[in-house]
């Protein structure tokens, strides 16, 4: 079913336990059978308490009078049961007076054991609850570091992207450079070949025009020139 909206949930930290703790002692009884309230009946009306000097307790007097009346009118008849009752009563009173405290101590000990067991369970539960609260708080603290984690991851991704980009940039420049180098080499080769071809052709044409006679003359002239040059250079060296 639905939770009634009129009742607030967890409105305060304390829980309103409906059970108050058990009282220490029960109502007072006098002589085991007369509740103490009986003796307080006339106090509000007459102001007479148990300790006043006027009478040895009004109610004891009333009780005695009542007893004598019952006996004299034989409303309470004395027969064989009276004696049996008196004997039993005396035995009971003696037993209670003698063994009462021991029985009470034993019962208290039983009670204390039960309470101790319950208390142990309660303490364990409380401890485990506080531990789990602390663990929860620690987990909450840990989640605060999420932003740092994401920042680091973001940095990683950015670095990867950057690296990739730069690699590709290098690749592009290298490829372009290779192609341009190729074209440059091609041009150089073409120029060289043209040069060599032209030189060869010029040489061939020059050689073909030179006849053997002028060749000999030019060789002797070259030799005489070289000799003259050598003389001048030697002269220069000695100077």
């Amino acid at each position: 079913g639905l939770v009634q909206a009129s009742r607030g949930l967890h409105t305060s930290s304390q829980c309103l336990a409906p059970m108050p703790p058990m009282p220490e002692h029960g109502g007072k009884v006098r002589h085991g059978i007369f509740p103490e309230e009986l003796f307080q009946l006339l106090y509000p009306k007459t102001g007479v308490t148990e300790c006043s000097n006027i009478t040895f307790s009004l109610f004891y007097m009333l009780g005695t009078g009542l007893l004598v009346y019952l006996l004299s009118k034989e409303i309470y008849v004395i027969n064989h049961e009276t004696y049996a009752g008196l004997a039993m009563l005396s035995v009971i009173v003696y037993g209670v007076k003698k063994f009462g405290p021991q029985v009470a101590a034993y019962a208290d000990q039983l009670n204390d054991e039960k309470l101790a067991k319950a208390q142990v369970v309660k303490d364990l539960t409380l401890n485990s609850m506080t531990e789990s609260i602390e663990n929860e708080k620690k987990e909450q603290w840990r989640t605060e570091g999420r932003s740092l984690l994401f920042d680091a991851k973001r940095n990683n991704v950015a670095m990867l992207l950057e690296t990739n980009y730069r690699e590709r940039l290098h690749m592009v420049t290298n490829e372009v450079k290779r192609r341009l180098d190729y074209h440059v080499a091609l041009q150089n080769l073409k120029r060289r070949m043209e040069q060599e071809h032209m030189i060869n052709w010029v040489e061939m044409s020059v050689v073909s025009t030179i006849s053997p006679q002028p060749e000999k003359e030019s060789i002797t002239k070259c030799i005489s020139d070289l000799k003259a040059l050598a003389k001048t250079s030697q002269a220069k060296a000695t100077v």
């Binding site: 220490e24 002692h25 029960g26 109502g27 085991g32 059978i33 034989e74 409303i75 008849v77 027969n79």
Partner: protein, 89 residues
């Protein structure tokens, strides 16, 4: 004691004056359910006062047993009458 004015029905029996007794009696719930609830309330009051305590005394049980003895004597009185010592009192 000028306390607050409560209706007759809300007073406990010990606070009811003699003249109001009839009115009080008439205003109580006398159906079987009411009677049984009254008996239960009385029982709970007695138990909570004398028995459900940490250190109860003999009074709790002794009063019940004494009441039982007295009640059984009252029920047997017609039979016990024949054991009387004197005829005229």
């Amino acid at each position: 004691m000028a306390g607050k004015e409560v209706s007759i029905a809300a007073k406990a029996l010990r606070d009811v004056k003699l003249g109001e007794l009839g009115a009080w009696f008439g205003s109580r719930d006398m159906s079987p359910k009411g009677i049984i609830s009254a008996i239960c309330r009385g029982r709970d009051r007695y138990l909570n006062k004398y028995i459900y305590v940490k250190k109860g005394g003999i009074g709790g049980i002794a009063m019940i047993l004494t009441g039982y003895v007295a009640l059984s004597y009252v029920w047997e009185y017609d039979h016990i009458k024949h054991d009387r010592w004197r005829k005229y009192h």
